[in-house]
Subunit: 360 residues, 2 copies
């Protein structure tokens, strides 16, 4: 039996990727120069279809990095002089906070318990804060922030740059890009690509801030700093030889998602996550880790397992069904199950059946 | 007719890569977690076979970056407090020099004319210099430094870190790792992989220097700084989700090269480059750009084309034979032809025949 990966990233490849890789090999995508016309055309196609999929306005640049982890460093180096606020509710939101701190800036980490999320209506941000960081979908715990809450935060605090980590949720949430300044993700999660590419979108406010910091001598320049990324993006190119194959595949998968229809993909996401949370609520040994329904991720479902998660994970692995263990301190207590666009309703139904039948 | 890429990188895939990609897809390589046992095993296999191929001693770490370009920044941030010397003889050696300068350090660029290389015996390095940078194979011009010259430089100057750019020459030159401190390359050139991975090897002297700079507050920390790379490498892992597929492919290709035999690959490299330079010397419209034979690269042959290179490049492209144009200022005046390990003797013979027959 072929393995199925329900791990929260890297995960199952989007179901069309294998064919796209074969097509890429046939059409010499890995051999074309990243400065050639053929590359420029391909790069432009990818960013345009991604713009359409995400409904990304014209004032946003699509930049590429090696990972979302790189984006945290670039933001620390290029967008913050002194003060940032981070809504931390798990290990990934914490990593951005830690990255900014490591750059010796005053990062203010607002930390709530793992498995919960912040009540943004209560947030108080003072006027010196330059950037607010928020993990819309915290992959380590399965806690997600409703987009409306993000929009309301922005309505209240218009000045600081608002940057959103959507690493493992896109393209499910319907973000309003008029209410945020930067959004980033990596491709090995919901987009179902091989790992090794981060996508960093940002608007002109980010560029203006970077220019100001540069003029003031508070900008750490590097080969992939935001102003260089933006400059090369206007030419549909990157600052160095990028992961060309993945940029090609991203365009193809985004197009496939458009063809299938975002409404359909979002409907399925609702159905699949409902199946998972129903399992977590009805199974005697499982409990949804995120108790507040409003904060439950539709793409990464996390449950506590009475007696530990290892037996269940191993039992499923024997059947070729790979789910994630807990993250960090929850390693042996949690399971994490991705229901990304590539995971069919039938696959999630089968997984739920198998879990119900397993003795663990 | 299937296209053949003789471009100097990205270039033709190593002839086994397509099969390895298919195997990787079958064995779920793109879906495994980069923190899983399966990943650790694979990562270790890749670094071990690479060590064997390069004859890399135990005191060297194998680290991964997104590109060789990234390595320039990391060295600037982590290995130099103030003073570096760069032997510049083309655009790529210049880029490292420029990167260090951009980090506001005193980079001393020793610049010789493109198409030549430095007489290292004449080099004078004063005692404050912390790092010497050298492009063993300057991809922009096809000028290469004999390994013996590098060894002699080291014998004369033992204190500064000696770092060698072998981006487009490995595994052809027989480096003596006891006579250098760091060597880096990217995989889309001689190794014939898709782009999106840099390999950075460094010894304990680099780590000691980094530790000292860190202790003194002159170390720019980032997610992929040298000490973090080294720490994760001891666990056969990376600092963030890497290009897992490429790390897998690198191990497979390095193993294929070992199976074929490095002696054989090096013999073929000599033969293929002899064919190319013979063409450049005998064809009435071509002249080898590197006139001094000692400095001629065995992996990237560069020729000036009387009357400009475009007609020749286009004429070959019509036959499915893709060669590189000149780099930078030489764009329309040069051709650059890769004879990497994947390029067979027969392919180079055919290319030479076609060039001899073409009217340009």
């Amino acid at each position: 039996m072929k393995n199925i990966f329900f791990t929260p990233g890297p995960s199952a490849l989007y179901f069309t990727v294998e064919q796209h890789i074969k097509d890429a090999l046939k059409s010499d995508i890995p051999s074309i120069s990243h400065r050639s016309k053929a590359y420029v055309k391909m790069h432009q196609e990818t960013t345009e279809v991604l713009r359409e999929l995400l409904q990304l306005p014209e004032n946003f640049t699509v930049g590429f990095t090696s990972s979302a982890t790189e984006v945290w460093d670039r933001m620390s180096e290029n967008l913050i002089r002194n003060h940032s606020v981070h809504f931390v509710n798990g290990d990934f939101s914490k990593k951005f906070y830690t990255a900014v701190s490591a750059h010796e800036k005053n990062a203010d980490g607002r930390i709530v318990e793992a498995g919960t999320h912040h009540d943004l209506q209560l947030a108080e941000i003072n006027s010196e804060v330059e950037l607010i960081g928020l993990a819309q979908n915290e992959t380590s715990t399965g806690a997600a922030m409703p987009v409306e809450d993000i929009n309301r935060l922005r309505a209240k605090y218009k000045d600081p740059l608002l940057v959103v980590d959507a690493v493992s949720s896109l393209p499910i949430p319907e973000f309003d890009f008029n209410n945020l300044d930067s959004l980033y993700f990596s491709v090995q999660k919901s987009f179902g690509l091989p790992a090794g590419l981060g996508v960093w979108t940002f608007n002109e406010r980010c560029l203006e801030k970077a220019e100001r910091l540069k003029a003031e001598g508070h900008y750490h320049d590097s080969y992939n700093s935001i102003l260089k990324i933006a400059k090369m993006a206007t030419k549909h190119q990157t600052t160095c030889t990028p992961n060309v194959l993945n940029i090609y595949l991203l365009g193809k998968v985004a197009k496939d998602m458009l063809t299938k229809g975002l409404d359909q993909i979002r409907q399925e996401a609702k159905y699949k996550s409902a199946l998972l949370y129903n399992l977590f609520e009805t199974h005697p040994k499982l409990n949804a880790f995120v108790s507040e329904k409003k904060f439950r991720s539709q793409t990464v479902g996390v449950a506590e397992v009475n007696g530990g998660s290892e037996t269940l994970i191993q039992g499923l692995a024997k059947k070729g069904l790979n789910i994630g263990n807990g993250y960090g301190e929850f390693k042996n207590r949690h399971i994490r199950i991705a229901s990304f666009p590539t995971h069919s309703k039938e696959q999630i139904e089968m997984l739920v059946d198998e879990i119900n039948q397993l003795d663990f």
